[in-house]
């Protein structure tokens, strides 16, 4: 008989590792099982082409919870978040719009396009900041069940109520608007400059199968404002070594706390006896007993694949089936002989353009993104997609051989299911659409490409296991957030099966490399332990 672990965590993504680390720090004997040879889930860095390291899927960090960094002492385990100081939006007319890391420079830049927007930009930023500050404590809170009269739930609701009461009236009204409006409508209230609205609205659609004019996307804007680095809100950074660097740091912290981690150990099933999870069965047939099992996989994979649905209440299975987890984005990673030269802000004598240090956003207008969405709505990938690109090798020189570069392109929209289905030809056509789009702004790009990795939603699903390739383990829509994530009544990391827990981004608060789900799940499990 094998050792009985205190807990087995399924999935070695950032949340799985975080749950494991917290449990181990509380003295539990913990095993993490990862299907792949590399840890990190969607936060991995891989040398897909020799000498060039791709931050394969997720590529920036903003939301990683400060308490996770602090409590797991991640800096000691190698976490370095390097600045990503700007966002550059090239325009079809050869001009550009940039947001720099200096308010004066940014104001001047927007002023070029619209004097009024230059001021509105600061007011908008302050309003979002105020609301993010108001909403943010929810990120570190176990969602109270509003229908429950349990003391913890009542206390949670009370805290929530107190919080809402602390909001100034104007903020409360604004919050109500954010919860209901589309990103485009909200931005129309503030701005007149199309590239600015386009670029801002993009943060409202990331990871959703919605367009900037779809209601509910305004909230996603706010979600991104809750990011914070070193006390600075709305800060984005690039982790040294790519997002895989974050996973490595967390894994190192977990190991230091005594966690055992096995890679290439895919789980076939959660073993349930008498309505109680008692361990897992690996695909190789090994059975590993444990007192607790926690899955960091997405809700569909956990409840529809790893567990016999017959063991779950019918309405719960139904809710999980309905849970929206549509894949909407792809990823293109490029190995480059040199940096592409953007017509709008050419490379200077030192070999760079200021834009290379930050993000390049292909989002010239709200219409552009909405049209990209139109393609997706009708079962095609966007012929001219929204792109969010960075040059990891400019920020972290160790990502590519000296003088060479890697480029990471997040691409939306790419539906999971397209007309005729994804195949190799369509994947290449998708990659071409991305490169062609970029080449309109940086004509020399094509001649610099040494290697190209194109990832469609089915590819993301196949490699990482994320259902439909959805990067958030379920869309950030209001009807599946907070006490509704992933399903009403099951938002407190428990599941209908005793001793089976959920700890991935499919639980509150979800989304992005945040780590809050993993941490809160561990804390809740430890409470149960007592």
């Amino acid at each position: 008989m094998a050792t009985t672990y205190d807990a087995i965590i399924i999935g070695g993504g950032h949340n799985g590792l975080i749950t494991a680390a917290y449990l181990a720090r509380a003295g539990k004997q913990v095993l993490v099982l990862e299907r792949r040879h590399v840890l990190g889930g969607a936060a991995v860095t891989e040398e897909v082409y020799p000498g060039f390291k791709y931050t394969v899927f997720s590529y920036v960090v903003s939301l990683l919870r400060p308490e996770v960094i602090r409590e797991l002492d991640l800096p000691r385990h190698g976490l370095k978040i390097l600045p990503l100081p700007s966002t550059f939006t090239p325009l079809p007319n050869g001009d550009y719009l940039a947001a720099w890391d200096d308010p004066d420079l940014t104001r001047r830049e927007i002023y070029r396009h619209s004097p009024r927007d230059a001021e509105a930009y600061e007011d908008y930023g302050r309003q979002m900041f105020r609301m993010a500050r108001a909403v943010k404590p929810i990120l570190s809170m176990i969602p109270p069940d509003p229908t429950s009269l349990g003391p913890d739930d009542l206390l949670g609701l009370l805290k929530l109520g107190g919080h809402a009461r602390g909001l100034e009236a104007r903020d409360f009204y604004n919050l109500a608007k954010l919860m209901t409006m589309s990103a485009a409508d909200l931005l129309d209230e503030w701005f007149e400059c199309e590239p600015l609205k386009g670029t801002k609205s993009a943060s409202g659609i990331i990871g959703t199968f919605l367009g900037p004019r779809s209601p509910g996307t305004a909230y996603v804007l706010l979600h991104h404002y809750m990011g914070e680095i070193d006390g600075v809100f709305r800060a984005w950074g690039f982790a040294k070594g790519g997002t895989g660097g974050i996973s490595q740091a967390i894994a190192s912290a977990a190991r230091a706390a005594g966690v055992e981690i096995r890679t290439e150990a895919p789980v076939a099933q959660v073993i349930v006896k008498n309505g109680r999870a008692v361990g897992v069965a690996l695909e190789n047939g090994d059975e590993l007993p444990a007192r607790y099992v926690a899955s960091s996989l997405d809700p569909k994979r956990t409840f529809l694949k790893l567990v016999d649905p017959g063991l779950l209440p019918g309405d719960f299975v139904d809710a999980i089936r309905r849970y929206k987890i549509r894949g909407s984005s792809g990823k293109v990673n490029l190995a480059l002989d040199a940096l592409p030269d953007f017509t709008a802000l050419p490379i200077r004598a030192d070999g760079y353009s200021p834009l290379h240090r930050g993000a390049v956003s292909i989002s010239p207008s709200v219409d552009y993104i909405e049209r990209a969405y139109d393609d997706a709505k009708y079962g095609r990938f966007s012929r001219r997609p929204y792109l969010d690109c960075i040059f990891p090798s400019v920020i972290d020189p160790e990502m590519a051989p000296p003088g060479k570069h890697v480029m990471s392109c997040f691409v939306q929209y790419a539906p999971y299911e397209i007309e005729g289905g994804w195949d190799d030809a369509r994947r290449e056509a998708f990659g071409d659409a991305v490169v062609d789009t970029l080449a309109e702004y940086a004509p020399n790009l094509k001649s610099l490409i040494r290697h190209r990795q194109v990832l469609t939603p089915p590819d993301i699903e196949q490699i990482t296991g994320l259902t439909e390739g959805n990067i958030f383990q379920g869309e950030l829509a209001l009807h599946q957030l907070f006490f509704l994530r992933p399903a009403a009544g099951w938002a407190q990391y428990r599941t209908p099966i005793a001793n089976l827990w959920q700890c991935g981004s499919g639980t509150h608060p979800g989304g992005g490399i945040m780590g809050a789900s993993g941490r809160l799940a561990a804390l809740e499990m430890l409470k149960d332990w007592r």
Binding site: D104, R108, R116, A118, E119, R126, R130, E168
Partner: protein, 395 residues
Amino acid sequence: MLRGTPFHTRTAPLCQAQNWRRWAGSLVAGSYELSHEREYWAVRDSAALFDISPLYKYLITGRDAARLLDRVVTRRVSQCAVGQVLYTPWCDEAGKVIDDGTVARLDETTYRLTSADPNLRWLHLNARGLSVEIVDVSERTAALALQGPLARRILQQVSPADFDRLKYFRLAHTTVRDVPVTISRTGYTGDLGYELWTDAAHAERLWDALMDAGRGYGMTPAGILALDVARVEAGLLLIEVDYQSARHALTEAETSTPYELGLGWTVALDKGNFVGRKALQAEQARGPAWQFVGLEVEWKSLERLYAEAGLPPQLPAATLRASVPVASLGRQIGYATSLAWSPLLKKYMALAHLEAAHARPDNLVMLEVTVQHRRRYAPARVVTLPFFNPERKRA
């Protein structure tokens, strides 16, 4: 890169200290020489030339120009004569100050508003339904301040304007050599002084003309550090230092009403409706909770505190822009926001917010000072602002 002002080609070679300061997104000299002392004394003894181009400037024209301004600012703009300038704050709906600046009536239907922060959007938001045009002329208008007892005599060398009749807070359209300028008798030093406004294209010629005219009068270009001492002596507020703009504030406690900033005299409650009027009416009836006052540190006590540590008194070299607690009977009753030694008055002075009950002149309060890393309290007396108010300012 941050930009220089229209005078940058002239100021840059003169700035030996290379201590460029950022002002509204532009670079201006902190001081030209390594120490700002001579530049400060020029303000009080001869004349100093300041580049004040980074101020935001808006031209407001049209039938309803005065109505718009009356709607926005607290002073009564409708009674501002052609050629007159008004200093005024403006508030949000809650009566909390957003910004302060001047309104100059350039002609029958044209006003120029200066401000510390961008206000184009705020003006537009309040201009709905009014027949008015608002143009941001911040970048195309260059501005200099010539401040000090000899300022008038210098200008008389190069301008035909009748300076003897140009009264305090009035302006004249005239020339300096051949450069068309508007000269207003205004400033941020509390001394005799003028501000000169011209098209940015003429900036260098205006600078050259004034530098040339000032040569025989000990005039010197001066930077922000000298200005910052002079304005404390003059009891003049600085946004984001002495008060927080209601637009930037995160909490209500950070904000101030004009009454709390000693600007009650600028609030024309009976002029008709304007932004913040209701709240200000209530505030006036209630009386403000805070007062903005001057503090004069009692020198002997300060000396004693330092002597106990075996040291002579140590004072900030320039104006200290920091929040320093003020206490009474062991309880904090306020905070100082600008502290400076006045070389002219030989006093250690501070601008401070005090709870109203402690703010009457001559009241003794305790100002926190750090003596050799330790917290001490020096007695300081409440004084009416300004600290320095020479007759020549208005004469």
